[in-house]
Amino acid sequence: MKLELDDFLLIFYFQTALSALVACFVFLRFNLRPFYVKLIGLSFFLGFITHIVSLGVDGKIRNPIQTLNEIINFIIIILVYHIVLKKKYRLYFIITGSLFLVFALYNIFFFQKTELNSYTYALSSFLMMGYFILYFYRLMVELPSLHLHRLPMFWFNSGFLIYRAGTLLLFIFRPYLIHVLNDDLLLYWSFHNSLSIVEHLMILVGLLYDFKSVNTRHLSRQM
């Protein structure tokens, strides 16, 4: 099965547009949004900028930009989960965050260098999945709401988990895909982008629920 470049680009553009939409949605009632939602908005805004920049530059520049985006994204995710888990796992976040930063810097300077740092992506996905499962565990312990689907963070967490779980192997085997399965790379990468679209849609649902609660608060303040 082959995928044309045009089809690949179409999916890519759609994903990029969704990143912009997520970032813009966070700006609605921005001041009233919880801090972690603002951070998620920032993460998607940076993702959008990275996509735009990536379109116009050479691979040797694009890859470090994307790696840098992933590192910043990882730090943002740590902050988000540090907040939503009520600062209970500070040490865990410090240790895993430090471990990741050391590995990411080593990878940039000594190992994958200007190639896309897929191992950095793989490690960040692996560590993040730990945070996502930890969040679900806290949900089961704390039982904050009978209707979980009304919690914005439930949607954010589910979206992140599906994207990271689905793309973990893609990042682990990326060097092999590039060197051996180069012909099918577009197909594999479109699968990645499709999962990213699913993630974006789930984030949007979460943002919608957050907007509803923020809006209700805003209206009740006005009355």
Binding site: F136, M140, L143, G166, L169, L170
Partner: protein, 268 residues
């Protein structure tokens, strides 16, 4: 595509699908587990609430039966004996050279007899059992008016049904407590008691033009039993499945409204 490559593609496909299924299962598990846990928690809370209600009801019932027993003892035993003593005293007085010398003792005895009657009636008004709570509340208002020298008006709107005896007694106790509070603490010159029945609800309102009180402060002030009156009113209202609303501001009088569903109408 050679065998190695196609094997890798198959492995990659299976493993990725596996990861996605696993993450989807985790999400579904969390949703269902937490829903079940919350439902169980709610069920447990409902049982606890029911148990507390039953305990409260049993406590109030035993309090009422103790009052009833005490009222009967006071009325039948002590009241009866005092009346006999009075007859004896009058008879003995007739044989005295100066019958007026026991007038003071007779007056004191009369006061004691009426005090015993009043205490007995406060403990368990016979009107309540004989004529129902509307009549009992009306009588209560008249009595308070006579003793406290405050103008107390009573009004009723709508066709107020006869309720279960237990419920009637609880409503009566609430009104009694509210009137007691108003007379003792509010320095009111006018108290209005009203009963109103609409389609499904019975509303009992006690309103006064007194000095008012800080509801929150009063409810929280359990020291020296100050807040206990409001607490017991709320408990009784809860047992009636009703809502009690305290509206008051210092210097602006107070209005206490008890709203309850009328589900236990007697077909008389």
């Amino acid at each position: 595509m050679d065998a190695g490559t196609s094997n890798f593609a198959l492995f990659f496909f299976m493993a990725t699908v596996g990861m996605l299924v696993l993450s989807g299962s985790i999400i579904l598990f969390v949703v269902f587990y937490q829903k079940r846990m919350i439902q169980e928690q709610l069920k447990r809370q409902a049982l606890e609430f029911e148990y507390q209600q039953k305990m409260l009801q049993a406590e109030l019932e035993s309090q009422e039966s103790e009052r009833r027993r005490l009222a009967a003892d006071l009325h039948d035993s002590i009241g009866g004996m005092l009346s006999t003593i009075r007859v004896g005293l009058i008879t003995a007085g007739r044989s005295l050279p100066d019958p007026q010398s026991i007038d003071e003792t007779k007056r004191m005895l009369d006061d004691t007899i009426s005090s015993v009657r009043r205490i007995s009636r406060d403990l368990m008004p016979s009107t309540l059992e004989k004529f129902g709570f509307i009549q009992a509340i009306k009588e209560l208002c008249e009595r308070f008016q006579a003793t406290a020298k405050i103008s107390i008006s009573f009004s009723e709107q709508g066709e107020i049904p006869t309720l279960e005896q237990q419920r009637e007694l609880m409503i009566f106790r609430i009104v009694q407590e509210l009137l007691n509070n108003a007379v003792k603490h509010s320095q009111a010159t006018l108290i209005e008691v009203s009963l109103c029945k609409d389609e499904h609800r019975l509303t009992v309102t006690v309103k006064d033009d007194g000095v008012g009180f800080d509801v929150v402060e009063q409810k929280n002030d359990k020291q020296f039993g100050k807040g206990l009156g409001l607490f017991s009113i709320e408990n009784r209202a809860r047992l009636l499945n009703g809502i009690v609303n305290f509206e008051s501001q210092t210097g602006r009088g107070s209005k206490i409204t008890l709203t309850l569903p009328v589900l236990h109408e007697k077909t008389t």
